[in-house]
């Protein structure tokens, strides 16, 4: 027998190829959690400064007893004010596909539009990083270095916030390891806690981002939560609305860029194209101007536990 029309023959001599690039793509694991909604939004300062100075005021004036019916005897009251700065800074990302990359993209999932999607997503991921970077600046702390997070720590954080007159709606952002420890601790709880439906619910894996509600607190998981104590611990945080604030400098790409080169644009970011004709490449750049700040220290408490 000879001259069979085999795959191997055609592979060697033409007619078949060793590998065909699939139009399907698999996305490797990453944490796409965006947590900007946990911060207060503040309109950016656009007039003369990149820093917005925000006044904080403490209310709660109570009346003083007058000396008598016909004389006051009191002194002036003035509301206590403090302030904080919210500064935005330039953040950017750049991708530089070549003409050949674009010429060969037909029918492929990895194409120019896909790259634009990655660039657009970067805005919220950056804000998540800028939020968790604030946690270490919070002065109150619960949890013990080197000891796994437990339900007791969650109660301690709630007690701490309650003592400061925080509202009921609380959020808690923890590292995946801290979430694992919380689940482990929940499994061993006794008493009234073990019969709560939300305690059962937190045991189920739900992936990154929102993990569920426990004791009225909304739990979020993010791998951006930083280490503490020379890598021994992770530093999560429980807080109420208003603990942290953010701003996004308003961009106006039409002012400086040829409209034809604006691939995407809103008031917070834009993707622009810059052509490098000599080298047959085009750069796609995202520019955004985020800023975050701790707004009120007593609205938050760090949760520092074993990493």
């Amino acid at each position: 027998m000879a001259n069979e029309s085999s795959y191997a023959t055609y592979l060697s001599n033409g007619g078949r190829v060793a590998r065909l690039l699939s139009d399907m793509m698999h996305v490797n694991l990453y944490d796409p959690t965006g947590l900007r909604f946990l911060m207060d939004y503040k309109e950016p300062a656009m007039m003369g400064s990149a820093t917005l100075n925000i006044t904080k005021i403490t209310r709660g004036l109570v009346l003083s007893a007058a000396s008598s019916e016909i004389s006051g005897g009191g002194s002036n009251s003035i509301p206590t004010t403090t302030n904080y700065d919210l500064t935005y800074a330039r953040y950017y990302a750049k991708m530089q596909p070549t003409d050949l990359f674009v010429m060969t993209q037909d029918g492929q999932a990895l194409n120019l539009d896909y790259l634009f999607g990655i660039l657009s997503e970067a805005r919220d991921l950056t804000l998540t990083d800028l939020l968790v970077a604030l946690f270490a600046n919070v002065s109150g702390n619960v949890g013990t270095s080197g000891v796994n997070l437990s339900v007791d720590d969650i109660f301690s954080a709630m007690y701490y916030l309650n003592l400061q007159n925080n509202p009921a709606a609380l959020a808690c952002v923890l590292h995946p390891q801290q979430i694992n420890d919380l689940i482990d601790s929940t499994r061993g709880e006794t008493g009234a806690f073990q019969f709560r439906a939300d305690a059962q619910g937190i045991l189920a894996p739900t992936g990154v981002g929102f993990r569920g509600q426990l004791l009225g607190v909304q739990f979020y998981q993010s791998d951006s939560v930083v280490t503490a104590n020379a890598g021994a611990d992770r530093r999560g945080c429980m807080f109420s609305a208003g603990a942290f604030a953010y701003t996004m400098g308003k961009v106006d790409p039409a002012m400086q860029i040829n409209p034809a080169d604006i691939i995407y644009g809103d008031t917070e970011m834009f993707i622009e194209r810059a052509r490098d004709a000599d080298n047959a490449m085009s750069s796609y750049l995202v520019n955004a101007y985020p800023g975050t700040a701790e707004q009120e220290d007593l609205r938050a408490v760090r949760i520092t536990t074993d990493a």
């Binding site: 990149a50 820093t51 403090t82 904080y84 700065d85 919210l86 500064t87 935005y88 800074a89 330039r90 953040y91 800028l130 970077a133 604030l134 270490a136 600046n137 919070v138 002065s139 109150g140 702390n141 013990t144 270095s145 080197g146 007791d152 301690s156 006794t190 930083v226 280490t227 503490a228 104590n229 020379a230 890598g231 021994a232 530093r235 101007y289 985020p290 800023g291 975050t292 700040a293 701790e294 220290d297 760090r302 520092t304 990493a307």
Partner: protein
């Protein structure tokens, strides 16, 4: 006339191995920071049996808590507003280049990461890079403990106050109450009760020692002319001088 010449080898062949290390994986990239201490930030260290200051990381990130980039050189960060906010909350910023840090001066190490970023961490931390590229940190709990002790002993942080101590003991006593309740129906938890009791005892001992040391350090220095020493003459003419 030519003759045979013996030639010796000039060296031994060694297979060349190029080890390329591009640094830590890109996800390790983070931002530099300074340690900050707040008045309530103390915890009991079971290994040393002492109270040590808890050090927070004040991250130096452009756009976070007022940290700015220098418009003339974006690589230089201006953290003055962040420092001012920290001070307003009662925090003490421990700058990396503080001379009083002694051997711990420049306590931050940096590692290169893939993609051009850097990983900043406490100077004693090291990494093992496994074949395949995964990196695992070798934490340095003992060195960090020594660092915190140094910060406390050299008064680079707040002194620990009695209300803070009372609060820390109160937390342990609450934990003890809970553990006792649980141990009533789960006798195997009795050891946890004993452990917490031992911890509370150690905390009390450590506080007594620390309180003495703090009070001694806080003694006012006597100014002005020194009072003449009192001389007591004992039997037989022996004299004793008291300052």
């Amino acid at each position: 006339m030519s003759s045979t010449v013996r030639i010796s080898a000039t060296g031994r062949y060694q297979r060349r191995q190029v080890v390329e290390d591009e640094g830590l994986p890109a996800k390790f990239a983070n931002n530099p920071y300074v340690y900050v201490h707040y008045p309530r930030g103390f915890s009991f260290d079971d290994v040393l049996g002492e109270f040590l200051p808890d050090l927070n990381e004040g991250h130096l990130v452009a756009g976070v808590n007022g940290v700015e980039e220098d418009p003339r050189n974006p690589k230089i960060l201006k953290p003055q507003k962040m420092f001012a906010g920290t001070l307003a909350k009662g925090g003490i910023v421990i700058n990396t280049d503080e001379d009083r840090l002694g051997e711990w001066k420049n306590y931050l190490a940096s590692f290169d990461c893939k993609g051009g970023g850097k990983h900043y961490c406490f100077v004693a931390v090291e990494f093992d890079k496994l074949p395949g590229g995964e990196a695992i940190a070798r934490e340095a709990p003992n060195q960090f403990r020594e660092f915190r002790k140094y910060i406390r002993d050299h008064r680079l942080c707040h002194e620990m106050s009695e209300p803070v101590y009372n609060k820390l003991v109160g937390i342990e006593e609450s934990a003890l109450d809970r553990a006792i309740q649980r141990a009533q129906s789960n006798p195997h938890l009795g050891k946890k009760v004993e452990a917490i009791q031992a911890r509370i005892a150690a905390m009390k001992k450590a506080w007594a020692k620390l309180n003495d040391a703090q009070q001694e350090a806080a003694q006012p220095v006597q100014k002005g002319p020194k009072a003449p020493p009192t001389i007591r003459v004992g039997p037989g003419g022996a004299s004793e001088v008291q300052a």
